[in-house]
Symmetry: C2
Subunit: 189 residues, 2 copies
DNA sequence: TAAAAATGTAAGTAAGTACTTGCATTCAAG
DNA sequence: CTTGAATGCAAGTACTTACTTACATTTTTA
């Protein structure tokens, strides 16, 4: 079709904003064009279909490998310190992708397939990293394990709930500290 | 309009099922009628508008006062025992209302106002009950409090995440036991 | 400045939406 | 058996949707 980066970007951003608020079905191409400040025809010239539009938006938002790198490079082997860093990084990444996550949550009748899978990938990966970390720490006698997978999931679900509550940065930071204390105390032998 | 209970019920159930799966916007009255096994006109004769349909579905699903009763009557003052009962009751209530909660989560362009508020009421209430419980237990020296509100929220968010993951009853029960152990251990002085 | 690419404008298509109307049919209650 | 309520059926309204086509205008590039 065409390629003017700034026009494409304006359209993508408008689509993401609107769909995060009103869902895929509830957002019309006409409205996307209007918010982007272009003609509706231009939307179709750039992306062909409404579905392509969302898929393009997905590709633009690189789900970070940041988390994997963190687990390999920046953990120090102290439970409280590590959980704090993991929690903070988790929210940082989730916030970057908040709108796409919202779109996936809301769903839609003709939502392109990749969307839900893409939204699932990240937590799946974190669960594995966190479970492995707990088992390793257990081997070193630094953590009390019963069911490491469920313990990892508890940690993640707790943070996911906080993420969904749109906390202010201040309250969020308080929560991260409080919940880390809680978990570290529960898991320390 | 009219009142044949079994017809109304069939329509309401079809609407709830479809909207929980595809969202309010993504569900057409035509499809609702088809799944309910009635003519589309009958849907409008019973409920007038699509919005009324959802509101009627809301009223049918009585959000339980069960939780309040539980906190007043059935808690015994032992942290582990109480948290276990609270967790189990939480999931029981949430499962009863799963589909309506899904509809509220997905949202929609013309979703009637009451829906989101109704879906919020229950967690709000639980948060207060749980916070008060923790403070009371703290007064008796049975619990170690730092920020009781955040501690209550952590507990709720963790369970909310589990609820959203559609666990089998077996895994869910395992999770409830594991997370209760975890919390009880963290909060015990 | 001239060609080419990107956009705007206007109009239209085909399908779907919520909702209505008029009339025929079923069915239960008096 | 008759009446009236509940439903089915067929058609239609007014509107929105995603998407297309043809042509004129602007902007970029060479």
């Amino acid at each position: 079709m065409t390629n003017n980066r700034s026009t494409s970007d304006k359209i993508l951003q408008a689509a993401i904003d609107l769909m995060a608020e009103k869902g895929y079905d509830g957002t019309s191409t006409k409205e996307i064009a209007q918010v982007a400040g272009v003609n509706e025809v231009t939307v179709f010239r750039h992306f062909g279909t409404k579905g392509n539009l969302l898929e393009a938006a997905l590709k633009r938002n690189h789900y970070a490998e940041e988390m994997t790198k963190l687990f390999h490079d920046r953990l120090v082997g102290d439970l409280h310190t590590d959980l704090l860093l993991i929690g903070r990084t988790y929210h940082q990444i989730m916030n970057q992708n908040r709108k796409l996550i919202l779109i996936a949550q809301k769903g839609g009748s003709s939502l392109p397939e990749g969307v839900s899978e893409e939204a699932d990938r990240h937590p799946q990966q974190l669960k594995k990293l966190l479970t492995d970390y707990l088992m390793e720490m257990s081997n070193e006698g630094k953590v009390m394990i019963t069911n490491p997978e469920l313990q990892a999931l508890s940690f993640m679900w707790m943070h996911y709930g906080a993420f969904n509550s749109w906390l202010s940065t201040h309250v969020l930071e308080e929560f991260i500290e409080e919940s880390t204390r809680l978990f570290a105390r529960a898991l320390t032998p």
